[in-house]
């Protein structure tokens, strides 16, 4: 049975290992944003032996490039972007102590294995629900790479941002499990129709 869990970063191993695929998560507190361009910059800084603009230990990273805020608003639409584009950077991010990622879409097997190794989770937010999700964001500021525009690293203060556990640190994958449950052949579909 899936449960609902409130998460408030910084997260400990204990916060993360209790999570199982299908659990609903509500995130409150400070999280950081990054898309591919910001990840690339972070990797370049690491390669050059320089300090990173954010300490990712225990943190949650939200893969999002928000639309600009209208005057009087905190942020524009802010739904998740597709996560596989970050896969090649994720091992390093987890090594730095990152505990959770919020995005949409499948992760590579290596990334799922790395989540097991470093005790981290991948959370899915509803892709395309950018206007809805933005209502959970109470404060937003750019903390690094402002020249990247929507791709800059933002520090967000969120309240009850909803997500669902897609990959837990036991190697589970909700996408695979969910699809298996509903996949059917033409024959089974026709039988199901007859039974109705």
């Amino acid at each position: 049975m899936s449960k609902t869990v409130h998460l408030r970063p910084p997260l400990t191993d204990g916060d993360v290992v209790q999570l199982e695929i299908g659990d609903k998560v509500l995130v409150t507190g400070v999280i950081y944003t990054a898309r591919d361009a910001a990840h690339k910059r972070l990797m370049d800084l690491l390669a050059a032996g320089k300090e990173l603009p954010v300490d990712f230990k225990g943190q949650i990273l939200y893969y999002v490039g928000p639309s600009p805020a209208k005057p009087g608003r905190v942020i524009g639409a802010a739904g998740p972007t597709t996560s596989y584009r970050m896969d090649s950077y994720t091992h390093t991010m987890l090594q730095l102590g990152l505990k959770a990622m919020i995005g949409k879409g499948k992760r590579a097997p290596e990334v799922i294995a790395a989540m097991q190794q470093y005790k981290a989770v991948y959370l899915g937010a509803t892709g395309g629900a950018g206007a809805l999700i933005s209502q959970c964001i109470k404060k937003a500021e750019v903390v690094a790479f402002p020249e990247l525009g929507p791709e800059a690293i933002h520090r967000l203060e969120v309240e009850n941002l909803p997500a669902i556990v897609i990959n837990d640190c036991q190697g589970g994958d909700l996408y695979e499990l969910g699809v298996k449950e509903y996949r059917r052949s033409a024959e089974t579909r026709d039988n199901a129709a007859e039974c109705r």
């Binding site: 639309s67 949409k104 892709g127 395309g128 206007a131 525009g149 929507p150 669902i164």
Partner: protein, 279 residues
């Protein structure tokens, strides 16, 4: 000869870019409502509920429904009896995109392919122009998100592969895309023409109203078969498993070379934005 001022074109494109991003079509809203009732998976029904709420917030608060406000794909039907005055036709459209994305607080999502430097104003839009009889100018703006565009494919099949080959590629494309293009999706299929024409046909197929029936019986039957096949994949809303992976499959077909069978599969996410204006 009817005269249309370039400034009028700019204004129309600007307004269409903004409203396309704020107001989802009635056909999509109706499809979400049906999904909320008919989806068997509880998490799938919750996704439909969220999408309806998201669309409502976007429309009432005048904010984009999705942060990816898309690359502006623009289909133009230019009547041959229209004379555009007071400026460059293509530039008038680009200027409309620039103003719309600026004034509407829409995300600028275009960049240099290699340096990845943002162009800053969401131009250049991709414009497809057709010259048609008459004295009207029809502009359809389709803000196309990257997530679903990335999952789209073009196949150059051997003619021997025929219909089974086409069905196989459509299903494979949707299966491989899985949760990535923000299902529930719409699948546009372009069959025939050439390599590039198939892609344009597939994109045009996305413009048809969701819930409408293809006027060609042969294609209507194929659409039905493809929709069932796609939904039997079990991907479901957001890929969490469910009965409704696609809300519609639309097929457009035209003759091709005797040696070829081009097939394009353009995937459209649930943020299926398009706005048409006729001048």
């Amino acid at each position: 000869m009817r005269q249309i001022d370039a400034k009028e074109i700019t204004r129309a494109v600007k307004e269409a870019a903004i409203t396309a991003n704020f107001d989802l079509g009635e056909d999509m809203l109706a499809a979400f409502k049906r999904g909320e009732k008919e989806e068997e998976s509880p998490s799938g029904r919750e996704v439909f509920r969220q999408l309806l709420e998201n669309a409502k917030i976007a429309a009432t608060e005048r904010v984009p429904m999705c942060q990816d406000c898309g690359l502006a794909v623009i289909f133009v039907e230019l009547g041959q009896d229209v004379h555009v005055t007071g400026g460059d036709f293509q530039q008038a459209i680009q200027e409309g995109v620039r103003q719309g994305y600026g004034e509407g607080f829409l995300r600028k999502s275009l960049c240099h392919p290699l340096t990845r430097a943002n162009t800053g104003d969401n131009t250049p839009a991709v414009i497809h122009t057709e010259i048609v009889p008459g004295d009207h100018l029809k502009i359809t703006i389709v803000p196309k998100g990257g997530g679903s565009e990335n999952m789209s494919r073009v196949f150059m099949l051997k003619p021997a592969e025929g219909l089974p080959g086409i069905i196989d590629r459509v299903l494979a494309t949707v299966r491989e895309a899985g949760p990535n293009p923000c299902p529930p999706i719409i699948v546009g299929v372009g069959i025939g023409g050439t390599f590039e024409r198939a892609g344009i046909l597939a994109k045009k197929a996305l413009l048809r109203h969701v819930g409408s029936v293809n006027p060609e019986p042969e294609l209507a039957a194929l659409e039905k078969q493809l929709l069932q096949g796609v939904n039997d994949l079990g991907i479901g809303p957001q890929g969490l498993g469910g009965r409704i992976t696609a809300l519609a499959v639309h097929v457009v077909m035209q003759p091709c070379h005797i040696a070829s069978l081009p097939v394009a599969v353009n995937i459209q996410c649930h943020a299926a934005r398009h706005k048409e204006v006729v001048l």
